[in-house]
């Protein structure tokens, strides 16, 4: 009987060993991607995956990274911080990835960034915007090539300062992204327009990310004293909000509206004509914002392959892969420490324009774009017209203000 137990345990051990061991070849370059692939934000993960695949195919066709073919592993963070940590551990320990890219949720990013230090693996953030991961919580292994809240709200507050609205409120998701967007908006607008008023926290609208019925929030805002609304809702939340708000008469012109992420093509495709015209919306990348050959090639290739225009999330994934390839070329290696060193200070031309990764906080200085929604009979979605472009150096706060003390 004892022998049976010993044998049984050995068998279990063997099974676990086989299940647990990842056979990693050292030739291919492995990139792990973590996006939200399910729930109200699933289309963002889908568009990002498409952007990543486009970039990887382009690179592999040109010979790969430092001679090795690029392999991609995609994981679903489901927008939850503990799941994010779990899948990143899986990517690093089981799949043996050389770098992790992605992250849609600021909540996940804040949780994951410190863990990258333990994993000693570089993380290139392409979407999550909380300033903390390149600010108060910055660390050697965490990078971001996309616009963060600081930069986006700098643009929003500039536009807000020119609007006639005096009292502002917000409708945002009830996690760090919504709260921090509001916090920074108040901070920046107060500087540009000292007489601006802001509703107290109890009167603004923060909705749980899982909410699908926003009517109560819409009603709350419409019946408040505010004549300006900062909407930081995104993804499925924004789609639901715009539909329901439209029905309730929210867009009757009685209030100024700023949608910090309204120009996501995922949202514009879902809403089509339900997205009102004449709204100021922001984005991290707009496919029509510049005419460089690089951008045109990217948009054409993406449209040809996927039949939709690339969103900023698609561009983020695409840009991250290209940035990594550039860093690997600079370092002549994919060794994680060398990549981290190579990424610092790296400048690269992406479809969005030229970005430079600041060595002090690992945040990319990148140009930004806001625009007014407009109809265009030739296009299946709302486009931006007029477009207001902001130069990266004008909207990115100096390192001293970010709270990052890495260097």
């Amino acid at each position: 009987m004892k022998k049976r137990w010993v044998v049984g345990l050995l068998v279990i051990g063997l099974v676990l060993m086989i299940a647990g061991s990842g056979i990693a070849a050292d030739k291919p370059v492995k990139i792990g991607f973590v996006y939200i692939m399910s729930g109200p934000f699933a289309t963002y993960g889908q568009f990002a995956k498409q952007g990543a695949e486009l970039a990887i195919d382009e690179i592999n066709q040109a010979g790969g990274i430092n001679g090795g073919k690029v392999e991609a592993f995609f994981e679903d963070s489901t927008g939850k911080p503990d799941v994010g940590i779990r899948v990143i551990r899986k990517l690093v320990y089981e799949n043996g990835v050389d770098v992790v890219m992605g992250l849609d949720s600021s909540g996940v990013a804040s949780a994951v960034a410190p863990v990258m230090k333990e994993l000693k693996t570089p993380l290139i953030i392409t979407h999550a915007a909380t300033p903390d991961v390149t600010g108060t919580n910055c660390n050697r292994y965490t990078f971001r090539i996309s616009l963060n809240i600081n930069q986006n709200i700098a643009m929003a507050s500039t536009i807000a300062a020119d609007m006639k609205a005096k009292t502002w409120t917000t409708a945002g998701p009830d996690y760090s992204f919504g709260h921090q967007s509001w916090e920074y908006f108040q901070k920046y607008l107060a500087k540009k327009k000292p007489d601006a008023l802001f509703l107290p926290t109890a009167d603004v609208a923060f909705a749980p990310a899982a909410a699908t019925d926003f009517s109560a929030y819409v009603t709350k805002i419409m019946n408040s004293k505010a004549d300006g609304v900062l909407i930081s809702l995104w993804g499925g939340n924004l789609i639901d909000f715009v539909r329901q708000a439209g029905d309730l008469g929210f867009f009757d012109g009685k209030r100024e509206i700023l949608m910090t992420l309204g120009a996501a093509t995922e949202v514009l495709y879902a809403l089509k004509e339900k997205m009102p015209e004449g709204l100021w919306v922001g984005t991290r990348y707009w496919f029509q914002a510049n005419d460089t050959p690089l951008n045109k090639a990217f948009v054409d290739a993406y449209f040809k392959r996927f039949n939709v225009y690339p969103s900023y999330n698609a561009h983020g994934a695409y840009g991250a892969v290209k940035t990594y390839a550039a860093a690997a070329a600079k370092a002549k290696s994919v060794d994680k420490e060398k990549i981290v060193d190579a990424l610092e200070g790296l400048s690269i031309e992406l479809p969005v324009g030229k970005i430079t990764i600041r060595p002090e906080d690992h945040q990319a200085v990148t140009d930004g774009v806001w625009g007014k929604t407009a109809a265009d009979p030739r296009m299946p979605i709302r486009i931006l017209k007029p477009i207001r472009a902001f130069a990266g150096k004008d909207i990115t706060p100096p390192v001293g203000e970010t709270g990052c003390t890495m260097k």
Partner: protein
């Protein structure tokens, strides 16, 4: 004034949807003694099927008409082959079985239709808005507000005045006696379960234009309908109606007036009811 009215209407429209679903849950519990965890998944299936019919045929009404019966057929299979073997056993096992079915269906929906959210537009006649003082209100929600009580009254009439209704109530009160007088209880149970599923799916189909259709729909509504049924009284229609209204108003007014605790209000109410009057507002002494 508009704010108050809008909140009332918001509360009513969500409340009526909740009422439809809770009616199914409470009927099944009242007659069969089964608390069906998968009820929310059946609601979700109704929404998805409606969406699918809209894609195929372009008509919401077709989806509303054909979706729920399909779900009812599925539920007949569920009851006959999965639930029936457990009737003699501990109530916990029934709960666990329906929990497993819930997991299966929730992921099954993901498998068939994908993990993303879908948008369903209300039918032409019911889309659009009507003016509400200086604001507007969507017609579709008003439709829900009117439809809810109508269905409720129809069902109440059925249970109170028709022969079948009386048989069902008899079987609920005393299963053994009903069998003795010749009622085929197993068949009755299947019928009731299918009826409950039909109601849930109907609620789902009606909910599809009201909110986005997604794989998490079932999870949220099952808890809210549990709470409605417990607060109102298991097996009671007026209970389900009142309970659903209370929850609907807690949702709309709570968000405006008490945003920090709004999420907890239904659970607080649930606990208070369970501890002071466990049979619910309209429930009968069990």
């Amino acid at each position: 004034m508009e704010g108050f009215l809008a909140n009332v209407l918001n509360g009513l429209s969500w409340g009526m949807l909740l009422f439809l679903i809770s009616m199914g849950l409470t009927t099944v519990f009242g007659v069969m003694g089964v608390l069906n965890f998968a009820h929310g998944s059946l609601f979700m299936l109704g929404a998805y099927l409606c969406m699918q019919f809209v894609r195929w045929v372009g008509s919401f009404w077709v989806g509303l008409l054909l979706g729920p019966p399909l779900v009812a057929v599925l539920s007949v299979l569920l009851e006959r082959f999965l639930l029936r073997p457990l009737y003699g056993r501990d109530v916990s096992f029934q709960l666990l079985l329906t929990f497993g079915v819930m997991l299966f269906l929730d992921d099954g929906v993901r498998l068939i239709w994908g993990a993303a959210y879908h948008v369903v537009n209300p039918p032409q006649i019911l889309s659009g808005v009507i003016p509400l003082f200086s604001q507007t209100y969507p017609v579709y929600r008003l439709f829900l507000v009117i439809l809810g009580p109508l269905v409720g009254i129809a069902l109440w009439v059925f249970f109170a005045f028709t022969r079948w209704g009386k048989i069902l109530r008899a079987a609920a009160m005393d299963r053994q006696m009903a069998e003795i007088v010749g009622v085929r209880v197993p068949l009755l149970f299947t019928a009731v379960f299918a009826f409950g599923a039909w109601l849930a799916a109907l609620g789902g189909a009606l909910a599809a234009p009201h909110q986005s259709v997604g794989p998490a729909m079932g999870e949220r509504i099952i808890i809210e309908s549990f709470i409605v049924v417990v607060i109102g009284g298991m097996g009671s229609f007026p209970g389900a109606f009142v309970g659903a209204l209370i929850l609907g108003f807690l949702n709309s007014f709570g968000t405006t007036l008490m945003p920090d605790v709004q999420m907890a209000l239904p659970y607080i109410l649930l606990s208070v009811v369970l501890l002071t009057r466990p049979r619910g507002i309209f429930g009968e002494e069990g």
